[in-house]
């Protein structure tokens, strides 16, 4: 992974499902700035949306007033998106990717995330809550 000084953008938002469209729109714009083509832009939007949806549904139990942070970092060869919540710590091992999209309830979202980005890391170190990282490269050999 190569980070550059191209820029970062941080969104501090609430776990309100009405705001998901705003997160998607911002994700789309950042993906365009990072140099992705339209299909890849849609893939990143879906992946970020699915992570936020999981936080709203599972970590915050649909409470719309909790805080989430979505942090975009432009890389030389793609984009990194860190998504943080401030809920109860979750064992990152529960996010083991399902082998098929319907192998368990709720597994479809995780399966889609895995399909849409190049790297996913759950359980990043953070003093409170949970942090997840998505990375998507403009060229697949960009590691």
């Amino acid at each position: 992974m190569t980070e550059s000084a191209k820029g970062t953008l941080e969104i501090r938002t609430l776990s309100d499902p009405r705001l998901l469209s705003v997160i998607r729109a911002t994700t789309g714009q950042m993906a365009l700035i990072a140099g992705f083509e339209s299909q890849q832009v849609e893939h990143l939007k879906l992946a970020v949306d699915e992570v936020c949806t999981n936080i709203i549904r599972h970590t915050y139990k649909a409470d719309p007033g909790q805080e989430m942070i979505v942090m975009f970092t432009l890389l030389d060869n793609g984009i990194k998106v860190d998504i943080q919540d401030f809920g109860k710590k979750v064992d990152p091992h529960i996010f083991r990717m399902p082998s098929t999209p319907r192998s368990k309830p709720g597994g479809l979202g995780l399966f889609l995330i895995e399909s849409m980005v190049d790297d996913i890391e759950f359980g990043l170190p953070t003093p409170v809550g949970n942090k997840c990282r998505l990375i998507k490269y403009t060229n697949k050999g960009g590691h």
């Binding site: 998607r24 849609e42 879906l46 949806t53 889609l112």
Partner: protein
């Protein structure tokens, strides 16, 4: 998201427009379940106007399909755009749903 239902040829067309996400999918679910409770024999979900769909939207369609099958109803999808078709394909559901290129075809197939 907008949802409109139209009765046609003994079936019901549920036309959806806009983005189907965690916020919008409960409204789509309510509309689908409303017709399923009436045991409509042919329910066509027209996705022509849908610009985005996440896993909650897909789960809503899967539930509609499963509930319809319980009483012998037919649940079909019509006119999904390329991005929606791609999501269905990634989810391995493109072979599970009867998907048609037009609403008329979907109704005639019933």
């Amino acid at each position: 998201m907008e949802v409109t239902s139209i009765m046609a040829n003994g079936g019901v067309i549920v036309a959806v427009r806009g983005e189907v996400d965690l916020y919008a999918s409960p409204r789509l679910r309510r509309e689908i379940v409303r017709w399923i409770k009436e045991r409509i024999l042919s329910l066509v979900v027209d996705l022509n106007g849908v610009t985005y769909m996440d896993s909650s939207g897909i789960a809503t369609l899967v539930e509609g399909l499963q509930l319809s099958r319980k009483y012998g109803g037919r649940f079909t999808i019509a006119r999904p755009g390329p991005s929606i078709q791609e999501v269905l394909r990634f989810a391995h559901l493109d072979k599970v749903f009867p998907i048609f290129g037009s609403v008329e075809e979907a109704l005639e197939a019933s």
